[in-house]
């Protein structure tokens, strides 16, 4: 394979979706769980992102991070820093972060008004 000249091939332009100011809400139950997870430490933030994959094409990506290289916008909700990657902001505007307490499939859940469909496990959407 000729990779010596590959660098001269122009990169395929990646679709850059419009960056929107993502408005998020977090339910009381989710706030309680975040309080339990973070304690008094506010140096970390909840990163709510979207990755490719899952049955429906996009998967939610929730992480607790101190810093990130990803270009993000930051919102503060009930004292918690929440980071939303600009590249995914159009998919996350208007979401509600909830916490579902059940034996199977419990944990943080995203209710997304932008999703036209989602898979059975609720982790991915289209």
């Amino acid at each position: 394979m000729d990779c010596g000249t590959c660098e001269t091939a122009p990169a395929i332009e990646v679709i850059q979706p419009k960056v929107v100011d993502a408005k998020l809400t977090i339910t009381e139950k989710a706030i309680d769980m975040l309080t339990e997870a973070f304690g008094d430490d506010r140096s970390h933030a909840l990163l709510v992102g979207v990755l490719s994959g899952g049955c429906s094409g996009y998967m939610y990506d929730l992480q607790i991070v101190e810093t990130t290289d990803i270009d993000c916008q930051e919102v503060v909700i009930s004292g918690f820093r929440v980071l939303v990657p600009n590249a995914s902001s159009h998919l996350l505007d208007g979401i509600e972060v909830d916490y579902v307490d059940r034996l199977m499939g419990g944990g943080f859940k995203i209710n997304n008004p932008n999703a036209s469909s989602s898979c059975g496990c609720g982790e991915s959407f289209a």
């Binding site: 394979m1 000729d2 990169a11 679709i15 979207v50 990755l51 490719s52 049955c55 094409g57 998967m59």
Partner: protein, 216 residues
């Protein structure tokens, strides 16, 4: 050496999330060099591709006819992941060899279920020894599906003999729910067969046999 030049594209993916990106969107477990299939939400095929690890980059080799569809599929899903793509098709030619092809520094050789896929710089001479008719005859004799014939957007992987490229235990990907349901209920629908003679519904016709996708 039985070699045939394929009508292929070559994309070069860079970035630390490349493998994870391809793995999350295709049917096979992609941990390195392998063959995998990109499917739509209805499990119909977008393209079957060779994934080839080239140093820190990943090359994707697929069928030219489906390049734009695959690019559209991938492009909108990169989002925040560290993945960039280059189209290096103009710098390389792709061949398939039905005999073991010697490794060399210039030509990338990977063994697949179809044969040995060769990716050679355009400056490198590789002799194509098979005509299209001979290539198709070999495929009919050995029940090998090919893009544009059996592997098309009208079919899902089980229809065209790509069961081995649908990993049973990997996580979710687009089309996975349908494929898993079909497999678990043992209802994979039509399948690729080699039958005698010329057939009205043949996907490829050989001298004495044809390939057909049928419920038998």
């Amino acid at each position: 050496m039985r070699v045939f030049q394929l009508d292929s594209y070559v994309l070069l993916l860079s970035g630390k999330d490349c493998l994870k990106f391809i793995d999350g969107l295709s049917t096979n477990k992609v941990e390195g060099t392998c063959t995998t299939v990109f499917t739509k939400s209805n499990a119909k095929i977008i393209d079957m591709v060779e994934v080839i690890v080239v140093g820190e980059n990943i090359a994707i080799v697929g069928h030219n006819q489906y390049k734009e569809d695959l690019l559209d599929h991938l492009n909108s899903r990169i989002l925040q992941q560290d993945v960039s793509m280059r189209d290096i098709s103009d710098f390389n030619k792709v061949y398939i060899s039905f005999d073991e092809y010697p490794m060399s520094n210039e030509i990338t050789v990977v063994q697949t279920f179809r044969g040995w896929i060769l990716v050679a710089p355009t400056s490198q001479q590789v002799e194509s020894t098979l005509t299209e008719k001979e290539f198709n005859q070999y495929r009919v004799d050995h029940l090998i599906p090919h893009q544009g014939f059996e592997i098309t957007p009208a079919h899902h992987p089980f229809n065209c003999g790509l069961h081995n490229l649908v990993h049973e235990a990997k996580g979710c990907y687009i089309g996975q729910e349908i494929l898993t349901r079909m497999r678990s209920r043992n209802k994979t629908g039509k399948a690729l067969h080699r039958v005698e003679g010329e057939q009205e519904d043949a996907t490829t016709t050989g001298n004495t046999h044809s390939l057909v996708i049928r419920r038998i």
